[in-house]
């Protein structure tokens, strides 16, 4: 059992942090952020070319974080690898000591920095979860026997603000049937919609970690350019943010993130929070302290 699974199944309110591996090979800032935050959070999610922007591989990032004594959750996106590459990287990841996986479809290239890339999407996230479970049974994606089998703790993504919710919820149920054991959500801004989703999902009895983003100038700029993937900053708030200078905007983003963390803590419905920030080292310690984490 992974340390992350132990914590998540213990009922403790967990905190995970999104931490991009470097774009390039300068790993120093990544490692420094891991060391700054590792004793205050339960795991680092290492994205797989997040928002379709090229970066160091998530497996390498997850290993770098683990080498600092931190718990890693390695993201696998279906966008960039076919079933053979997903299999081989999952096996490689396991052999390097990483077992926590977040299986995602992957943002489309139009949001990223290499828009002429070929979309792979050989599998969708549901099929990829099922394939990883097959690896645990000793079979690769072609049905061929493995010599030594891995064991994973697999998570999936859900969007509590999905609209319409019904088709999304149908897929959420498929992910659970395929074998996900925990859920991390997209960034949430609307507590009302989160509560409705959590109420609906409660009977599935799966730990759900709520995504919360510290909105900064880059987030606002991306949304204004139509390049922000995932849930948009609410209209009412972004108009207010767009008029602020960079520093005031980040302060507003931090206040809102703290407010959302507290709401999630108080609601008692979620297993924890998953925090994203442009510069986690700069703003998360303060937010964690104020949230009593």
């Amino acid at each position: 059992m992974t340390r992350f699974k132990e914590i998540l199944t213990s009922g403790k309110f967990v905190v995970t942090v999104e931490l991009d591996p470097p774009k390039g090979v300068n790993t120093q800032p990544f490692v420094e952020t891991v060391n700054l935050l590792k004793d205050r959070v339960d795991a680092f999610n290492v994205p797989d070319n997040r928002s379709a922007c090229i970066g160091m591989s998530s497996v390498a990032g997850a290993v770098l974080a683990r080498n600092q004594g931190a718990e890693s959750i390695c993201t696998f996106a279906c966008r960039d690898r076919n079933r053979m590459a997903l299999c081989s990287d999952l096996l490689g990841m396991y052999s390097l000591g990483i077992e926590n996986v977040l299986m995602v479809t992957g943002d489309y290239f139009s949001f990223g920095d290499s828009p002429q890339s070929k979309p792979v999407f050989d599998l969708d996230s549901v099929q990829a979860v099922r394939m990883a479970r097959e690896l645990e049974q000793g079979n690769d994606a072609g049905g061929n026997a493995l010599d030594g089998v891995p064991s994973f703790y697999i998570g999936g993504v859900a969007n509590p603000q999905a609209n319409p919710m019904a088709p999304h919820f149908n897929k959420f149920l498929k992910k659970i049937r395929a074998g996900v054991e925990f859920i991390q959500t997209l960034d949430v801004y609307d507590m009302k919609r989160l509560d409705t989703f959590m109420g609906q999902a409660k009977k599935e009895n799966i730990p759900i970690i709520v995504g919360i983003r510290v909105v900064d100038k880059r987030t606002v700029d991306l949304q204004l350019l139509g390049k922000l993937s995932g849930n948009p900053i609410p209209d009412s708030w972004i108009h207010e943010l767009a008029d602020l200078d960079e520093r005031s905007l980040l302060e507003s983003g931090k206040r809102k993130a703290l407010e959302l963390i507290k709401s999630v803590q108080m609601s008692g419905l979620a297993a924890g929070v998953h925090l994203s920030a442009g510069d986690p080292a700069a703003c998360l310690p303060e937010i964690l302290s104020e949230a009593g984490i």
């Binding site: 992957g106 489309y108 996230s125 999905a162 897929k171 149920l173």
Partner: protein, 226 residues
């Protein structure tokens, strides 16, 4: 039908830079309907090339011909006596027709005059939309007559990605999310059970290129056996 779009004039001009006698060969089927390579478009391209060449001080002898279909040898035979008078041919057929023409006349320089884009439907005058990716395994019975391989940019088989925004596609917010539409269609016709089971991964071996199809009634003729 096959949808194509005319290549930019500059690219076509560059292609024929070394040739003084050029035949423009149109196709009277799909590319004529989508206003890219039929008889009218051949005439238009001919005028454009003549003017552009004149402005550059070059002289090109241009010929025009349009056949019923360039993807059928029967119609390409008609070009036998026309084509011999030219150094190069710009085919305004789809990629299939261009290749077939080049196969039929291997000693001629055959150049593309269009970019072949997709298989689509005629929505309204001058407006076409892609509807089929030719995946060799049709899912439309399960998905309410809406193709997730084509209509979803990620070709997802088991439901929407997390990016659906108010029922619209995150990749192109002007288009409905394929999976929101599939769900609505199936719900409206009482068939939601079709998407409650997990669809397995696609069999991409079915689409290994280049594909060949021989009708079962002709298998003996071509010495093909199952």
């Amino acid at each position: 039908m096959i949808i194509a779009k005319r290549k930019p004039l500059d690219e076509i001009m560059d292609g024929v830079a070394g040739y003084s006698r050029v035949l423009l060969a149109g196709c009277g089927t799909c590319v004529a309907v989508c206003l890219a390579g039929g008889e009218k478009e051949v005439g238009l391209l001919s005028s454009q090339l003549a003017i552009a060449s004149e402005l550059k001080g070059r002289r090109i002898d241009l010929g025009e011909v349009t056949v019923e279909r360039q993807c059928d040898r029967e119609f390409l035979d008609e070009l036998r006596y026309v084509i011999q008078d030219y150094d190069a041919v710009i085919s305004l057929a789809c990629g299939v027709g261009i290749q077939f023409l080049a196969d039929q006349y291997p000693n001629k320089v055959i150049l593309p005059g269009v970019d072949t884009t997709f298989i689509g439907a005629n929505e309204e005058a001058g407006y076409w939309t892609e509807r089929c990716r030719m995946c060799s395994r049709c899912y439309l019975a399960q998905t309410g007559g809406i193709c997730p391989i084509t209509i979803c940019p990620k070709s997802l088989l088991n439901g929407p990605c997390s990016g659906t925004r108010e029922g619209m596609c995150e990749v192109d917010p002007s288009k409905p999310c394929a999976w929101a539409a599939i769900y609505d269609r199936l719900e409206g016709t009482g068939r939601l059970e079709h998407i409650q089971e997990i669809l397995p991964p696609r069999n991409h071996a079915l689409t290994t290129t280049p594909q060949t199809l021989i009708h079962k009634a002709y298998k003996r003729r071509y010495s093909v056996h199952d």
